[in-house]
């Protein structure tokens, strides 16, 4: 653990989370996700099925794209958890796509459970090519929680 992750995170409203560029989406990753999730819809793994559905190739599971936005919060798990997560899918993700995930703090609220931060999050292929957007509520535990 780095020094930064050893202490509970403190964010300012308006602050950007450090964006992360993910490795290119691979077919093997889609196969792994199909196996790990039990979602065997062939448009995610089989070219012919994707073409039959009018796609130019296999597309990533929406839930996989969503899960990678969750990566933004994994470094802080020792101090809190993703309490609410909501996302809309707005674009298809194809094999070879390089996605960037990021977010911004939009609010903070003191609750009985601890300090609840609100974030806007996104996953995009480029500046103007957003594939998913969402909101996250990340709860930083107060003293005595869990």
């Amino acid at each position: 653990m780095t020094d930064e992750t050893r202490r509970p995170p403190v964010w300012e409203v308006g602050e950007d989370l450090e964006a992360r560029t993910l490795p290119p989406v691979t077919r093997l990753q889609l196969i792994k996700y199909a196996g790990a999730s039990g979602d065997f819809n062939p448009i995610h793994t089989v070219d012919e099925a994707a073409e039959e559905a009018g796609l130019k190739g296999v597309i990533a599971h929406g839930m996989l794209t969503l899960a990678t936005m969750g990566l933004l919060f994994s470094p802080y798990l020792e101090h809190g958890y993703v309490k609410d997560f909501r996302a809309r899918f707005s674009g298809m993700v194809y094999v070879g796509d390089v996605l960037e995930v990021g977010g911004r703090v939009t609010g903070v609220e003191e609750t009985d459970e601890g300090r609840l931060y609100a974030f806007d999050v996104f996953s995009r292929r480029g500046e103007d090519d957003v594939v998913a957007t969402g909101t996250v509520g990340f709860l930083v535990y107060g003293t005595g929680a869990v």
Binding site: P23, Y33, S37, A49, L64, L77, F85, A87, F89
Partner: protein, 155 residues
Amino acid sequence: MNAIERWRSLVGASSEPVANLIERGAVRRFAEAIGDSSPLYVDETTAKASRYGGLVAPPTFPRTLDYGEIEGMGWPDAGMIHGEHQISYTGRPLLVGEELHCYTKFENYYEKESRSGLLGFIIMERFGDNPGGERRFTMRDVVVVTPALRKMLVA
């Protein structure tokens, strides 16, 4: 009755709860597939020393659990698009080894005009309760029925 009429008649229906165990291997494979190697998901030693006392599951993991089937739902094989996903937890992430009773509820079906024709929207809720009956998470998914599929279903 066509599929759309059947869905309308099923609004409000729920599945029978199914017992699920949050399994270490399943969480590890899931974490690998999403490219998240956080020690709290995969490294037993680090996780044991953490506030959770053991491994936890990533926030989107519960979509992989078994929620049972709503009788008569009859999902089409293709043509549906996952539009939106939402999950809310109570108190902490899911822990490996935790037992949950999961079920699903068909919350709503409605249609909206779009440029390409009538779109159908299926709203499904999914729940995970611990054996004591306390809610651990609530999930809500919006599934879009494309105009082409909708036409086939009402034919």
